[in-house]
């Protein structure tokens, strides 16, 4: 497996250093412990927003640090949750006196490490609220699993919560807005190929040349079922069905449609997917009023994509449209 790396142990350090150098207008990076904060952090009187998780999902989360979105991102080792120390340090670095919101993807490691960090922050007098993103409909939400995973819908939670904090909402209100997005966003993904974690050196799972994995998570972990490759439209239909039936989304709804690439799928294919997804929504009388297409929540070089649908209302639409200035999302200023 060919990769542009030096010592696999230095992948995250070197990537974060490069990110800091490339986006010095937006962010500062701390190297020990490793985290990324917006350049002007802490912003006095504003709720700070921190997210984080394993590396390998870029631009998530560092690419979303900046005015209108995250105040800090805490990258762990590749596909491994960060430990509590950097989460705590980032939390303190962005506390402008109005408290800090942790946006956590529902993966066991992330949950346990963010919980521990939140306990430590509280002990140090920083008010922390946490929200858990669990938008992945591929997982049965029951007593028998760790619960639905947080996947690409996290981008929308971070953008909208960031806008709420930016307009001056207090911690409780920002958390409520985030919870509202989490309640109305659903996603599901597919992998065409596995990905290779640099220090493992081998694919995290195997797929035959003609096989795809439906319901993939964002760490290369297997999903719901393995099937033979189908035309793009058929795959889109397989993903959209469970998404739309889940809340459910119904005729008359206004939605944000987000087609996310897993890292190794070209834009040209993402737009083929978007075309079919928009068609299906139109057939159901669901109006797509906002869109996002691109690689935002990736799994290294994995080929594949996920579809995310968020039910919008006027407030969420206004918050989505609000200015944002980050490495990966930028509009309105």
């Amino acid at each position: 497996m060919k990769k542009l790396v030096n010592d696999p142990k230095n992948v995250v350090n070197e990537a974060v250093a490069g990110f800091g150098a490339a986006h010095a207008d937006l962010v500062r990076v701390s190297t020990d412990p490793i985290f990324i904060v917006r350049k002007d952090a802490p912003v006095a009187g504003k709720v700070g927003i921190v997210s984080g998780g394993g590396s390998g999902h870029e631009p998530m989360h560092g690419g979303f640090v900046g005015p209108g979105m995250l105040d800090a991102a805490v990258p762990g080792a590749v596909f491994t949750s960060p430990t509590p120390d950097p989460i705590l340090a980032a939390t303190k670095a962005v506390d402008g006196g109005a408290g800090v919101l942790h946006i956590v993807k529902n993966y066991t490691g992330d949950v346990l490490n963010f919980e521990t960090a939140a306990d430590l922050a509280a002990a140090d007098g920083v008010e922390v609220r946490s929200v858990l993103v669990n938008d992945d409909v591929a997982v049965k939400d029951s007593l028998y699993t760790a619960g639905r995973r947080g996947v690409a819908g996290t981008v929308l939670v971070e953008k909208i919560a960031g806008a709420a904090a930016d307009r001056g909402d207090d911690l409780e209100s920002v958390a409520l807005v985030a919870e509202r997005v989490i309640g109305q966003v659903r996603s599901m993904g597919v992998a065409l190929t596995p990905c290779v974690v640099p220090h493992a050196g081998q694919p995290s799972f195997t797929l035959a040349e003609d096989e795809i994995e439906i319901g993939i998570g964002i760490h290369g972990e297997p999903g719901r079922e393995r099937i033979k490759l189908e035309p793009a439209d058929a795959i889109v239909d397989r993903l959209l069905g469970p998404i739309l039936d889940d809340i459910p989304f119904v005729a008359g709804d206004k939605v944000l449609l987000f087609v996310n690439g897993m890292g190794g799928t070209p834009q040209v294919e993402l737009y083929i997917v978007f075309r079919r997804a928009a068609e299906v929504l139109a057939e159901r009388g669901i109006e797509v009023t906002r869109t996002l297409v691109g690689n935002f929540t990736t799994s290294l070089e994995m080929q594949g994509m996920s579809i995310t649908v968020l039910k919008l209302d006027d407030e969420l639409t206004t918050l989505w449209d609000a200015p944002v200035q980050t490495a990966a999302l930028r509009w309105g200023r």
Partner: protein, 212 residues
């Protein structure tokens, strides 16, 4: 026999060697039903512990050693294993904080507290295909051995044997916690990597006592 801070340090040193030796094995187990980082994370964590071991003061008790292990693992391992093992060692350290030498009862107390810490943090039950499936049989076997009058070495061997059997017994299970829970029945036939690393740790504890 006399299991104190010297044993605790040697146990941790041996554990670091064992995690390095079994790094690939744990990565492979985790790749099958998880995300393939467990061996890497445990190796990184225990190497960090190893680097701090010589700085533990000479007068420190075994509880102080385990507390250093706890805080170091929490801040270096990441994933779910960091908080879980960190909490295990922290609760064990607190449970034996006033001891300089560990008799059989204290060993059972240590193991029980470690297991309870894992359950507290991870909220898993027996049969969920997690590290609890190695720890609970180990705690039970250690308790039974101690009640039967076994010495420290025999107690730790009973715990290690039971943990290894428990790890093996995770193979036919469906996972209800952690990342493997997303696989449903496809997790069947694969050993839980956390149960396996737990068994390795407890075997290292017994082997270290045998060397003493």
């Amino acid at each position: 026999m006399n299991l104190g801070a010297t044993w605790a340090k040697a146990w941790i040193r041996n554990s670091a060697d064992v995690m390095s030796e079994h790094r690939i094995e744990l990565i492979d187990l985790d790749r099958e039903i998880g995300d393939g980082d467990h061996g890497e994370n445990m190796d990184r964590g225990f190497q960090a512990v190893l680097a701090k071991l010589d700085a533990v003061p000479a007068e420190a008790g075994p509880g102080d050693v385990l507390k250093m292990v706890a805080t170091t693992l929490i801040s270096t391992v990441g994933g779910a294993a960091g908080p879980l093992y960190g909490t295990a060692f922290l609760k064990a350290a607190i449970a034996i904080a006033d001891k300089t030498d560990l008799d059989g009862a204290a060993l059972v107390t240590l193991l029980t507290a470690a297991r309870d810490g894992i359950v507290l943090r991870g909220k898993a039950e027996s049969g969920d295909k997690t590290m609890v499936d190695a720890w609970t049989p180990a705690v039970d076997a250690a308790g039974a051995a101690q009640a039967a009058g076994a010495d420290d070495l025999a107690i730790l061997r009973a715990a290690a044997d039971a943990a290894e059997a428990g790890a093996l017994a995770t193979e036919p299970l469906v996972a209800h916690k952690g990342r493997a829970s997303y696989l449903g029945e496809r997790a069947i036939g694969h050993r839980d990597p956390g149960a396996q690393s737990s068994a390795l740790l407890l075997r290292a504890a017994a082997d270290t006592a045998a060397e003493a």
